[in-house]
């Protein structure tokens, strides 16, 4: 979405501040933006997305058992902000506020969130699935469970609000992973094809040989370190994983360095093509042959304790083929355009031409794939939590809906979370649809 709004800025750098263009902005992105804005459903979906994103970001402030801001025993506190800090490992609650019942403290004054419940905390007085329409055992209207409670007395509305956060995180993180992988492999396959990625014979040999060494040193030797860090939390795993990537890159770099002096020998210096398109297309075919949902179940079966982050990563790693296919097709078209030839004639390297000139013009269809991808990622994640995968500590819409199966009387458990999934999936599909139409030259007015 950012790309749409900053469309004009992008364009300026490309067309070097042409005065004509400024008057009548006809760049590609501006046109797409205008077409998109003309589609009412797409725009409405876009605004709903913004609203839901706002709910997701401010979830801890909207539904929390702690006050947002309070004055207690003469001191000012921001307990919600503090809690976020504590969760991240920065700072600690002062002693007098550790393990307290926030609700019962004697505040000088306090600003409370809209919903005074956390999704996982149980309200003993309203357990056993209390309907939103039934009489609830609460102190005042403010404490009402507007969407009812579940079997354990957990507030459903609070779960819905925090579930928005989960759903959006899943959609964005998994599609980020998928885009990075998809754009990388898709553009390699599309831009170079089978014949254009040429390198000296020695460089190819050394790269292939060192690839295995790199795998061995970066991931084989460090496998225990990586798996241990996963138990310590996602952040430490990310650190270890990045370190592995650095080692991997260094070893591959070493191979290329070693190739340089050896290139003096004529036989080793001969240029050979690396069939990158064939390799990537075949691998994609393998991945696509296993139904995505089943593939994800398969990977989940292997992991001891899958949590929401593991699920995000798995969705990302299994759904990049769509994006890769889009960008491959675009680059196949673009690479034969004249401006690419011009770039080559100017002596730019293949890599520079690809990254700076070809890929930016191929990203438009990727946006469509990402919009649809977010919808399907959210759908897959909620199906998985609905089936009971995941740790149970993550609040998800699918998990809430799952509770409806064991409490068939509780219609509010079935309707609200399911409706949230439906709406979110629909708006992302509508945005994808709007983008498709906006980018289709045949439909341009």
């Amino acid at each position: 979405m950012i790309a749409l709004n900053s469309g004009t800025k992008n364009n300026d750098s490309m067309s070097s501040k042409d005065t004509l263009n400024k008057q009548k902005n006809q760049s590609y992105w501006a046109t797409v933006g205008r077409q998109f804005r003309q589609k009412k459903t797409a725009m409405v979906s876009f605004y709903i997305t913004l609203f839901l994103a706002f709910v997701a970001v401010t979830a801890p402030f909207l539904a929390n058992e702690k006050p947002i801001f309070c004055k207690y025993e003469g001191k000012m506190y921001f307990p919600v902000v503090k809690q976020i800090g504590v969760d991240l490992g920065i700072g600690q609650f002062p002693k007098e506020l550790l393990n307290v019942k926030w609700k019962d403290l004697n505040y000088d004054f306090a600003v409370w969130p809209l919903i005074p419940y956390l999704p996982l905390n149980q309200d003993e007085k309203n357990s056993k699935s209390v309907s939103p329409l039934a009489k609830q055992d609460v102190e005042s209207t403010y404490w009402t469970h507007w969407f009812g409670t579940d079997e354990l007395g957990r507030d459903v509305l609070s779960g819905m609000i925090h579930g928005t956060k989960t759903a959006f995180t899943v959609g964005i993180v998994s599609m980020f992973i998928a885009s990075v992988i998809g754009i990388f492999f898709g553009s390699l396959a599309g831009f170079f094809g089978d014949t254009n990625l040429k390198m000296s014979r020695i460089r190819m040999w050394l790269n292939l040989l060192f690839f295995f060494f790199a795998l061995f040193y970066a991931f084989g030797v460090r496998s225990y370190m990586l798996s241990d860090s996963l138990a310590n939390g996602f952040a430490s795993f990310l650190g270890q994983f990045l370190l592995s990537l650095v080692i991997f890159g260094a070893i591959i770099g070493l191979a290329n360095l070693m190739a340089m002096p050896l290139k003096k020998i004529p036989f080793l210096a001969e240029q050979v093509a690396f069939p990158v398109d064939m390799l990537i297309s075949r691998s994609m075919e393998v991945l696509v042959s296993i139904p995505t949902f089943f593939l994800i179940l398969l990977v989940l079966a292997v992991i001891k304790k899958p949590n929401i982050y593991v699920i995000m990563v798995i969705i990302g790693f299994t759904s990049w083929t769509g994006i890769a296919r889009y960008i491959r097709a675009e680059l196949l078209r673009i690479r034969s355009l004249e401006y690419i030839e011009a770039a080559k004639a100017l002596g730019y390297s293949n890599w520079r031409t690809m990254v700076k000139h070809a890929i930016p013009n191929a990203l438009a269809p990727v946006l469509i794939a990402i919009a649809f991808g977010i919808a399907s990622a959210i759908l897959i994640e909620s199906s998985l939590s609905f089936l009971g995968f995941g740790s149970g500590e993550d609040v998800t819409w699918g998990g809430l809906l799952n509770a409806a199966r064991s409490a068939p009387k509780a219609w509010w458990l079935a309707i609200f979370p399911g409706f949230a999934i439906f709406i979110t999936v629909t708006i992302f599909n509508l945005i994808g649809e709007g983008l498709t139409d906006a980018m289709d030259p045949r439909l341009r007015k």
């Binding site: 075949r282 393998v286 042959s289 398969l298 199906s383 409806a404 509508l430």
Partner: protein
Amino acid sequence: MAKYILKRILFFIPTIFVISILTFVLMSSAPGDPAELMLNKASSGDSGQASDKLAGDKAYREVRKKLGLDLPMFYFSIGSISEPDTLYKIGKVDHRKNLGRLIDMYGNWPQIEAYYHALSEMELAFLDLPKDSATTAPLITLRSAVTDLFTNYKESVIQSKFGDIKDRLTMYPQLASAMPQYEKVVSAYYEVTVNPTTWKNYVPTVHMNFSHNQYHRWLFGDAPWFGKSDDPTLTGGFIRGDFGISYFAKRPVGSIVWDSIGYTMTISLVSILITYLISIPLGVFSAINKDTLVDQGLTTGLFILYSLPSFWIATMMIIFLGGGDYLDLFPPTGVADVEDDDPFFYRFGAQAYHLALPLICWTYGSFAYLSRQMRGGMLSVLRQDFIRTARSKGLSNNSVIWKHAFRNSLFPVITIFSSVFPAMIGGSIILEFLFSIPGMGKVSLEAVFRRDYPVVLTVTMFSAILTLVGYLVSDILYAVVDPRITYGKK
């Protein structure tokens, strides 16, 4: 055309091969010990004499041999020179994992091996210690300490267990007979810790196992190809139709899959039939009446149907229509409880009644999707020049639409056909689970939950093969619909 099909089928082979390797490796790295699942018991010998323990170990080894787990994983293995190429022979999975950890920490396999043997001897010695009312408590501590030593690699834990054992052995004189074995363990562990050769972990090496490996046995089998063999531990392998034995049901995977595939096939085929019968005319109708009120209503309705998560609708249908606390219109399960000797029409009626809700959930999504595709395809064809030409020739509206446009708008519909086969397995997992239909989806989901890997592996292979067949069928259909497409040389 025949040449093209043959070429495509030949291309299947490497793809299937890679998929089989991927899934096999994935399943093999899964947690849990298959042999123990088969034996249905915990690993530690928690009672009895050394002879019982030895008998238990023998049974365990036999199961491992039967499942082919006593073989190395693959044709070759890549590791460091500190890892012995015989590590796979260590039976217990948790023991093997722990040895791997020790190798990672110290890198001196000869010393670690000596320590492992000393531990095993100590375990046997503990089993032969005299049992009476006074020694029950310390013996329990001793045995749990041994179990912990087999599965721990951190020095602090190991030393504290050593402390536990030593305390018990010195405190109770009747247990002192196991002292020499204990001292041997301690000195063996000392040897491990003082002579680390961790540099060996950084030297890669390749071990060749040739065809003597688990993967080869699973795919090709180890029974002779010609003639019969009486050895029950031999298997025919996947390509000869021997899919192994389910860890959970303890019967051949082939029969499990065979029993379940009928349900899934029936439901999928009926659902596909309904989908195509309704959605193609609906899509065409909607495209012809583009931008009218009817079209707008249809488009919106179809879009909503398309975005409705089927597991939500299924849950709601079961809750609100399935005879719970609300309406009692339909049964909540998808399979009728009928006897074989009931009259046919009764059986058919009962089954159809039970399948009503599942079929709706199965169908509405693909029906909405297909109608939308059909409408889009028809619209883009109707914009083209040859349609205008046909109209200007004075052809009737019906003739233009059905003879000229319809055939050309079938492409998107064909694309979807390629996903029909894999959808038989993948698409039905949640719905079969919700409506308790014992089809492929439910079987595979349960197999994943129970970590019943032979079943998972078989289902994966089947769905991959079906997907590839689906792609081939849709490619051939393309050529049938569009004579311009010729696969192969012109």
